[in-house]
Amino acid sequence: MAQTIRVVVNGRTVERSVPERMLLVDFIRDELGLTGTHQGCTYEGVCGACTVHLNGEAVKSCMMLAVQADGEEITTIEGLARDGALHPVQKAFNEHHALQCGYCTSGMIMNAVDFLRTTPAPTEAEIRHALIGNICRCTGYQNIVAAVAAAAAAMRARAAE
């Protein structure tokens, strides 16, 4: 009824005994105290608030069990900044007012970071298509799309340096 798992979370290996039925999102929030990952819908897996990276890819952490992450690498919103400097997507969300209440924000950013890794120069249509899995109840999406586009440009500029 419980299993010991070792997961690399934001670069640090953690070892815990968890019940098999524990959702990955509950492991992240309740066991590790990383409450930047939010929980919006939980049952259906449609809101995207719980998005984290599993081995670098955006996944909904309410749609996996914690035991499935054994031996894998998880990155949460808390693990994006490098040496105290925000990730370019985080910076762009701040600069473009891409959030109001902030509930959707960590999921949006985690999805966008994975998206820009695979699509460094997206069109606006591609950005909108990429964000379908993340619901925002506040912003109307305009500024989120603008922030992702700005982050893409900033990351391309940095890569070209």
Binding site: T42, Y43, M64, L65, Q68
Partner: protein
């Protein structure tokens, strides 16, 4: 919020090991693939897992390979990887059409073609493409016996398939198509990339610019995906691949024949209109792809 307690979680590294775990005679074993349908069922306690067997670490279940001029797709191949094949699937472009719009990025990063076919939800994209394209489902039972099941026999109605307890889908095979074949899939949902209210997959055979036969499959019906015999009869009779009137008549025949259920959001008549419209578009697109147009 939790699922009911799960007795055991196993992570086999081979098909053989997975089958041994499932076939140990103790019952209560459930496979998990992408989890994009199963986790909903576990969390809402519609399903219960005494023993959960995770297929995500079995390398032999993944990948896309050419085989005898056809296409073989491992059951654990994810929607994302199928979508990435757009433009390279020849007669089976419908697979990428469908995979590219399943749910959202996060769902496509996890969900698999094998899971989608095994779940056989009444409104789902890949099962409809498999039916429309005449796929063959390869599976292996706990006795180790390998089985090939034509998709028409594999799908047994809403959420039901020919799979027996413990049987694992290993791959979906799309047989070699003769020259001049093409396919297309599109759905209409309440919101962008949502589950289809109606989805249509058409696979056509052409010769000298004429449609000479094909398959016409629809999702969004009460009993899971179904083919339209009337539309297929018109395709078998043949018409020019660019004949807009014949294409419309063919799709209209499918709309007349099939009976989608009305619901709180979309009436039955509107769904019939969707079959006619999507049918027209997909027939035209499949024909254009088949004739290189």
């Amino acid at each position: 919020m939790y699922p009911r307690p799960i007795g055991e979680y196993h992570r086999p590294a081979s098909l053989h090991e997975a089958l041994q775990l499932a076939g140990s005679g103790r019952g209560g074993a459930i496979y998990i693939a992408g989890g994009m349908s199963l986790m909903q069922a576990l969390k809402s306690r519609v399903a219960e897992a005494e023993r959960l067997i995770d297929l995500n670490h079995i390398a032999e279940l993944r990948g896309i390979a050419e085989e005898d001029g056809g296409l073989t797709i491992g059951a654990m191949t994810r929607h994302r990887d199928l979508a990435a094949q757009a433009g390279r699937l020849g007669a089976y472009e419908a697979i990428a059409d469908a995979a590219a719009h399943v749910g959202d990025r996060q769902v496509r990063n996890r969900g698999t073609i094998g899971g989608s076919l095994s779940w056989n939800y009444v409104a789902a994209c890949l099962p409809t493409v498999a039916l429309g394209c005449g796929a063959v489902v390869r599976s292996v039972g706990t006795s180790g016996e390998r089985v090939e099941t034509p998709i028409d026999a594999f799908q047994k109605g809403a959420l039901t398939t020919a799979l027996e307890e413990g049987e694992i889908v290993t791959a979906i095979h799309f047989p070699r198509a003769p020259a001049g074949a093409g396919s297309a899939y599109r759905k209409w949902g309440i919101v962008h990339d949502a589950l289809p209210v109606i989805g249509v997959c058409v696979h056509v055979q052409t010769a000298d610019g004429r449609i000479t036969g094909g398959r016409f499959a629809v999702t969004g019906l009460a009993d899971g995906p179904a083919r339209s015999a009337r539309a297929e009869a018109q395709m078998a009779q043949g018409f020019a691949a660019t004949d807009a009137a014949a294409i419309s008549a063919c799709a209209a025949a499918a709309a007349e024949e099939l009976s989608p259920p009305g619901d709180a959001w979309v009436s039955a008549d509107y769904k019939k209109e969707l079959i006619a419209q999507l049918g027209r578009e997909m027939l035209a697109l499949a024909a254009a792809r088949a004739t290189g147009g």
